[in-house]
């Protein structure tokens, strides 16, 4: 098996609740795959199963060829797992923390000292070597925990919401760090409930909700496959009358499906396809003499995409599956 990670029909049930309802996924070496989904979608459960913390109810997954069901001990040696919420020990210094986990991985003493030093440098905590772990900032703790997952040099890293609770600066630092890990040849499975966060980082994403993979592929792939419409906002210079006129004109435009005036004086239009003739709409609007001052997507593409995918799923669950209806909620 050439995949670093191969998931097949992975299922986990908590009583009558189906937390993970059969996930299939393959991750090749060097990939950074994002698991995206709303809270409660089954991301954490999936990752905990991969980290051998939970036994799957059905299905199996192989990490570097080792089954998580049959050879959990081997899996633990080839996986670096960072839980979504993790604690730190009191009264322990940063280097001791890493040293402790290195010991847990039976790394001999002479290698350990250098390893801890290198890891601290890698996550940019070299200057905090002797700092008490609980005195570190959240971002630093997050990086320290990431360093801990690297102690045994695993080919696969499973990072559960590593960026949650971080400020933008720490997020950027973390992203840089993960890029660096990729350059080191690591394969990374990373989860987030915010799709844009993963956009630049991941080679592929899998959108998960209700324990299933709803869409999978590169962001562009998913976008192409799923997008059935988009929402744009148009601002028109002038008074209310000018806005009303523009809204009316847009409503009559053949390429526009819906047109609505927002309370703040902007017009929101829905178009059926993402590659609708937007320049045409704009040109016709301007040609008609409306003083257009702005014409932009209503929300970020990815967020919209994410909402679309998960909303569709909700509708399907509600029994009212209108697959062509693609307006963002």
């Amino acid at each position: 098996m050439t995949e670093v990670l191969h998931i097949q029909g992975l299922t986990r049930r908590y009583g009558s609740t189906l937390a993970v309802a059969g996930i299939d996924l393959s991750v090749g070496p060097g990939e950074i795959v994002g698991l995206v989904g709303p809270n409660g979608a089954g991301k954490t459960t999936t990752m905990r199963m991969l980290a051998t913390l939970l036994v799957p109810s059905a299905g199996d997954a192989w990490v570097a060829g080792h089954s998580i069901r049959r050879a959990p001990d081997r899996v633990r040696r080839v996986i670096g797992y960072m839980p979504d919420s993790f604690g730190v020990y009191d009264g322990m210094r940063a280097w001791e923390y890493l040293d402790f986990f290195a010991r847990c991985h039976s790394i001999p003493g002479r290698v350990r000292a250098r390893l801890v030093h290198d890891l601290l440098d890698l996550v940019d905590l070299g200057h905090k070597r002797d700092a008490e772990v609980q005195s570190l900032s959240r971002g630093m703790q997050q990086r320290l925990c990431l360093a801990q997952t690297l102690v045994h040099d695993p080919p696969l890293l499973v990072l559960d919401e590593p960026a949650s609770g971080l400020d933008p600066r720490a997020r950027v630092e973390l992203r840089e760090l993960i890029r660096e890990l990729r350059a080191m040849g690591k394969t990374v499975l990373i989860s987030s409930h915010i799709l844009p966060e993963l956009e630049e980082l991941c080679t592929r994403v899998a959108i998960i909700d209700h324990g299933r993979v709803l869409a999978e592929g590169t962001v562009a792939d998913i976008e192409r496959r799923l997008r059935r419409g988009a929402v744009f906002r148009v601002s028109v210079a002038g008074d209310t009358a000018a806005v009303e006129a523009a809204a009316l004109a847009l409503g009559r435009d053949p390429a526009v499906r819906t047109s609505e005036t927002l309370p703040d004086g902007r017009i929101e239009i829905g178009v059926p396809e993402p590659d609708t003739d937007l320049p045409g709409i704009l040109a016709r609007l301007v040609a008609a003499g409306h003083p257009v001052s702005a014409f932009a997507p209503a929300v970020s593409d990815l967020e919209e995409l994410f909402l679309q995918v998960t909303a569709r799923r909700d509708e399907a669950d509600g029994g009212d599956a209108d697959m062509t209806h693609g307006t963002a909620a």
């Binding site: 299939d24 090749g28 913390l53 604690g87 730190v88 009264g91 847990c104 993979v213 709803l214 697959m323």
Partner: protein
């Protein structure tokens, strides 16, 4: 399923981190390494806190204070007693009795040993589960357990390491108490082997009770719950089993009263000694019973003998020192009336007014008419006595009044006559239990001497077994995927019950 085609394979960048061989550590290394790593971490954290030193100080102060209290109390009591005794001797004109100041030092030694053992037992019962009740649940609360469990440490190593670190701390307390305990050597009566036995019991107790805390810590989500539950469980084991044992013994008797006024108490069942195997106080009683000045402490030894149903032999004491019937030394054994066999059971007759009368020891009383009446134990009552017949198993207890109208006077015809009179109606009603009918092999040979080392060794063993079992169970609870493979797991993954659910959901979304 999507293929891996989109994977970009970067050239494996050399890092400073991979200068290691991909050596897979063996199970033993994982186990030992786990213990060392986890215990070292826990101890490092613990020894940095000031609380550690505070606890040791308080523990030792408590022991030392208690020891001093015992000493001061006994000294005062001894002074009062000698004064009283002296006055009695002067008033009665008799010089028989315990000389003033007799065995005071040894008594202090014995009481110090008993007191310190008791206090340490209580402290360990409180501290050991309290220290261990947090080891797993606090990792869970701190959310560090997942990090530990995903390392290749063996779970047994992990759990044993944590238990060891917590217990080491209790062992430090036990070790720190040695100088205080060594005070008993100043006073005597207690030998180094007694102290070693005591520490052996304390260490196994700490392990067993620590494992109770560990197990509850592995079950409970919260440390608080685990701590409270551990205290309750330990309380039930340590305090609940003694009354339970006594109640069982009481319920296992049948009392009838004959027309001649003899109350017959038949023992239908004996409370099982096993009930007390996890009770440290029973073990402590066994340990301290023979450290008394006479080599025999009536309270504890009698209790241990009644629990184990093993004979005890008061030695010289039974026939000399303490056999007195209110200032009058008794002829022992009763001439012509009762012959005490040289092995087996000790018979005591006590009258509450005057202290203890020990008739002798032997499995049977041979009456002068040739009949043999095996005796188990004779407990006293005011102005009378009771005889329990039948050494082992169901027996008969006879209670009767002995006319001791005049304090100090020997009953007419000797006690043997009274005894025979009381037993006569009984023997008519019921065939006596013959001693040969109950061969008690393990009691016959070593039955001389004290019942010591019969209970505490079982205690210690029970604590060890309890500790091992609970530790193993705890390892099962720590990581659900790392169960001991008692049964071979079915090889291929099961077909999910809801096979339809495993259809890649992505297909649904695809146009």
């Amino acid at each position: 399923m999507t293929a891996v085609s989109s994977a970009t394979t970067p050239t494996a960048a050399p890092t400073g981190l991979s200068g290691r061989t991909d050596r897979v550590p063996g199970p033993l290394r994982g186990f030992v390494g786990g213990i060392i790593a986890v215990a070292a971490r826990d101890l490092r954290g613990r020894m940095r806190s000031r609380r550690t030193f505070l606890v040791i100080t308080v523990y030792l102060l408590l022991l030392a204070g208690f020891a001093f209290g015992i000493y001061a109390y006994l000294q005062r009591q001894a002074e009062m007693e000698s004064a009283l005794r002296l006055r009695e001797m002067v008033e009665s004109g008799s010089l028989w009795g315990v000389a003033p100041g007799f065995a005071h030092s040894a008594r202090i030694g014995h009481q110090l040993f008993s007191g310190l053992m008791l206090l340490q037992t209580i402290l360990i019962l409180v501290l050991a589960p309290a220290f261990t009740a947090g080891v797993i649940s606090s990792e869970r609360e701190r959310q560090t357990l997942d990090l530990l469990v995903t390392t290749p440490l063996s779970t047994v190593g992990l759990v044993v390491g944590k238990l060891f670190a917590a217990l080491l701390w209790v062992f430090v307390l036990i070790l720190a108490s040695v100088p205080v305990m060594a005070l008993v050597f100043v006073f005597g009566a207690v030998g180094p082997d007694d102290v070693l036995r005591g520490y052996a019991l304390l260490v196994t107790l700490a392990f067993g009770m620590g494992a109770v805390g560990l197990f509850l810590s592995a079950i409970c989500r919260r440390t608080q719950t685990a701590t409270v539950l551990a205290s309750i469980v330990v309380l039930v084991i340590a305090l609940g089993s003694i009354p339970a044992h006594a109640l069982w013994g009481m319920l296992g008797t049948e009392t009838t009263r004959s027309a001649t006024g003899v109350t017959t108490i038949k023992r239908t069942s004996r409370a099982p000694e096993q009930l007390l195997w996890l009770n440290p106080f029973a073990g402590v009683a066994d340990l301290v019973c023979t450290t008394a000045p006479g080599g025999y402490d009536a309270g504890t030894c009698d209790y241990v003998a009644s629990v184990t149903n093993r004979p005890f032999f008061g030695g010289a004491r039974a026939v000399t020192d303490d056999v007195f019937f209110r200032r009058e030394p008794m002829p022992v054994p009763f001439p012509g009336n009762v012959v005490i066999d040289d092995v087996g059971w000790q018979v005591q007759i006590a009258d509450w007014g005057g202290g203890l009368l020990q008739v002798g020891d032997g499995p049977a009383i041979r009456l002068d008419d040739g009949g043999v009446m095996p005796l188990d134990l004779v407990g006293g009552m005011r102005g009378g006595f009771a005889i329990e017949v039948g050494a082992d198993g169901p027996g008969i207890e006879v209670r009767g009044l002995m006319d001791v109208a005049d304090e100090g006077a020997e009953p007419e015809g000797g006690i043997g006559a009274v005894l025979r009179g009381l037993l006569a109606p009984l023997r008519a009603d019921e065939p006596p239990v013959r001693p040969e009918a109950e061969p008690v092999a393990d009691q016959a040979a070593p039955s001389f001497g004290y019942p010591r080392d019969t209970l505490w060794t079982r205690n210690a063993l029970a604590f060890l077994v309890l500790g091992l079992v609970l530790t193993l169970l705890s390892t099962q609870l720590v990581a659900p995927t790392r169960r001991l493979r008692l049964r071979r797991r079915s090889g291929p993954p099961m077909v999910p019950a809801t096979a339809t659910l495993t259809t890649p959901a992505a297909q649904e979304v695809q146009p």
